[in-house]
């Protein structure tokens, strides 16, 4: 059950010119949120941006004791730029929580899972890491970006998962290993790491490479996918991806969390 409500800006934390965390009052969306859920946020009353924008609910937390939703945002255009500039207390229309969350209910305390993040794809993995930690399920993080500035929420991940379980890759080598996050993951698999499931979010090339890796390793995956969205709740049919069964599936309703084996990557 999603809710259409007005949430107040509690705080905006800027990491650099391109990245920030937006904290909104949790409303009734907070308690209903599971890792992998997203929300549609209207950035202001005007016509630019016109449609709401989709953001993963990165965390359900508190700001100075007030229940809050955290969104981790990368500025790429008019909407993500506008959202960074609202004063504390500004009410913003929010629809959420939306979509199919990461499948985690079937995990056992003895299971070990992998979290794979590329760039801003860290967002849905924060609440996942928190939830897994609370349930005592071991998780290894593989997190890649262009450089050190792209690697966000490091203290949280290391607190939830243990710093020895967090591995980083950057294109320029400014943090962790130089190279791609999929290289890190390949390396771990080659070293004998075995996982019940890999949870991932990142850019399309990362998803493609990871899909092949998972298939070769006969490993189950759950990807938090992105697509341009007009509505976010399955009515515009704008956000579809081609599926292996020949259909087009809406990412907002049948996703965003989808098993990569269900997607037809050749037509995407």
């Amino acid at each position: 059950m999603a809710v259409n409500e007005s949430l107040r800006v509690l705080r905006t934390t800027h990491y650099d010119e391109q990245h920030y965390s937006l904290f909104l009052s949790a409303g009734s969306i907070g308690p209903a949120t599971r890792p992998g859920h997203f929300a549609m946020i209207q950035a202001g009353e005007g016509l630019r941006p016109y449609l709401r924008r989709a953001f993963s609910i990165a965390d359900v937390t508190t700001v100075a004791g007030v229940p809050a939703l955290e969104f981790v945002v990368k500025v790429v255009g008019v909407g993500t730029a506008a959202l960074a500039r609202f004063a504390e207390g500004t009410p913003l229309p929010v629809l959420g929580p939306l979509g199919v969350p990461f499948p985690i209910d079937d995990l056992l305390p003895t299971d070990r899972v992998a979290l794979v993040a590329g760039g801003i794809g860290l967002a849905p993995l924060v609440l996942l890491a928190r939830t897994l930690a609370a349930r005592g399920i071991a998780a290894d993080l593989f997190y890649g970006g262009r450089n050190e500035n792209d690697i966000l929420k490091r203290p949280e991940f290391e607190r939830f998962l243990g710093s020895h379980r967090c591995r980083y890759a950057t294109d320029d080598g400014s943090l962790g290993r130089r190279g791609l996050v999929t290289d890190l993951f390949t390396h771990a698999l080659a070293g004998g790491a075995r996982y019940r499931r890999a949870y991932a979010c990142g850019p399309l090339p990362m998803f493609r490479a990871l899909t092949r890796l998972l298939a070769d390793a006969e490993l189950e995956g759950s990807f938090a996918m992105e697509s341009e969205m007009a509505c976010g709740f399955g009515v515009c049919l704008g956000c579809v991806v081609p599926m292996a069964d020949g259909r087009f599936a809406t990412i907002c309703k049948e996703g965003p969390c989808v098993a990569p084996s269900r997607i037809d990557w050749t037509r995407l």
Partner: protein
């Protein structure tokens, strides 16, 4: 002041003049958690075809200034699945349902309306003769008054439901289309559908939409929609009209009524705010009370225009 929102619409009497537009309201049920479906004047469901339709490959949508382009390609579950899986619940919730239908050929249209038959849970049939996003069909009927008349005649003969023809705005003379539809037996008209547009990713020199062109909707098209409603109302003073195109506020609703629409449909704005249509019903009542309008139908077609000089051509 007690305001009467009830809206005579040909053989129908709508609870109020606020409806929702096909393709922007799913099958209605998706909105049940955000508003009371029974409180709306009517809901027009996603365009139904004879068989389920997968639609176009992505990307299907992009935002444009004050609006969006879409080329969904009329993806839908098909008329059978709609009647079996969606309509019973819509009826239970008390929604006034308009079945929006389309086909690639005349036979396809006929097959859909025959399948609907005399189902009393459907208040009216709305023919989409104007979808710009499928390679065949739709657009031919929308662009050519003779083809349109032929199609409407066949559908008219195939159904006893009130028949609404939804016109394409992608024509030079909207009145010619309107007349053709009404003369062929349409009970009412819906206007407008989306305007064909193009958006370009200049870095890649590619269209932003997979289908290349898409249908433009949202506030950007409102002045065009209003002009067309007014032209058709002026030419055909009696025909019931659903007006739509970029409606976002109660003032926009009133604008369309004054231009000559008997009722309106909310479209793309449902994506921005899924509760909007329900709120507009209440706001319309308040607006009328504040403006001393006892019956909302008294607003319809009340535009006061000045005579135009003979040499004025636009």
């Amino acid at each position: 002041m007690k305001v009467d929102l009830s809206t005579p619409f040909g053989r129908l009497r709508l609870k109020n003049p606020i409806g929702t537009a096909s393709g922007t309201f799913g099958y209605g049920l998706e909105f049940a958690e955000y508003l009371d479906l029974a409180a709306l004047g009517a809901i027009s469901v996603k365009g139904l075809s004879r068989r389920p339709c997968h639609g176009n490959p992505p990307p299907r949508i992009c935002e444009t200034d004050a609006g969006m382009l879409n080329a969904i390609g009329l993806q839908n579950v098909g008329v059978d699945a709609f009647l079996a899986d969606k309509l019973p619940e819509l009826a239970r919730l008390g929604a006034t349902v308009i079945a929006n239908v389309w086909g690639d050929t005349e036979d396809d249209y006929v097959a859909v309306v025959e399948r609907i038959g005399a189902d009393r849970r459907i208040a009216a049939i709305e023919m989409n003769v104007s979808c710009p996003n499928v390679v065949k069909g739709g657009m031919i009927f929308g662009n050519n008054p003779d083809a349109l008349a032929g199609l409407v005649k066949r559908i008219r003969a195939a159904t006893r439901h009130p028949l609404i023809v939804k016109l394409s705005p992608n024509v030079t003379d909207i009145v010619a289309s309107a007349r053709a539809a009404v003369d062929a037996g349409a009970d009412a008209l819906s206007l407008i559908n989306t305007l064909v547009g193009l958006a370009i990713d200049i870095e890649r020199r590619e269209p932003k939409i997979g289908f290349t062109t898409g249908g433009l909707s949202g506030p950007a098209i409102r002045p065009v929609a209003l002009r067309m409603v007014w032209e058709v109302r002026t030419a055909l003073p009696k025909v019931p009209i659903f007006g739509m195109g970029g409606i976002e506020t109660v003032e926009h609703v009133v604008e369309f009524l004054i231009a000559g629409a008997n009722a309106v449909q909310i479209g793309t704005a449902n994506f921005r705010d899924p509760s909007l249509a329900g709120r507009l019903v209440k706001e319309l009542s308040v607006w009328c009370a504040d403006h001393g309008v006892a019956r909302v139908s008294d607003l319809v077609g009340t535009l006061k225009t000045r005579p135009r000089p003979d040499h004025f051509f636009s």
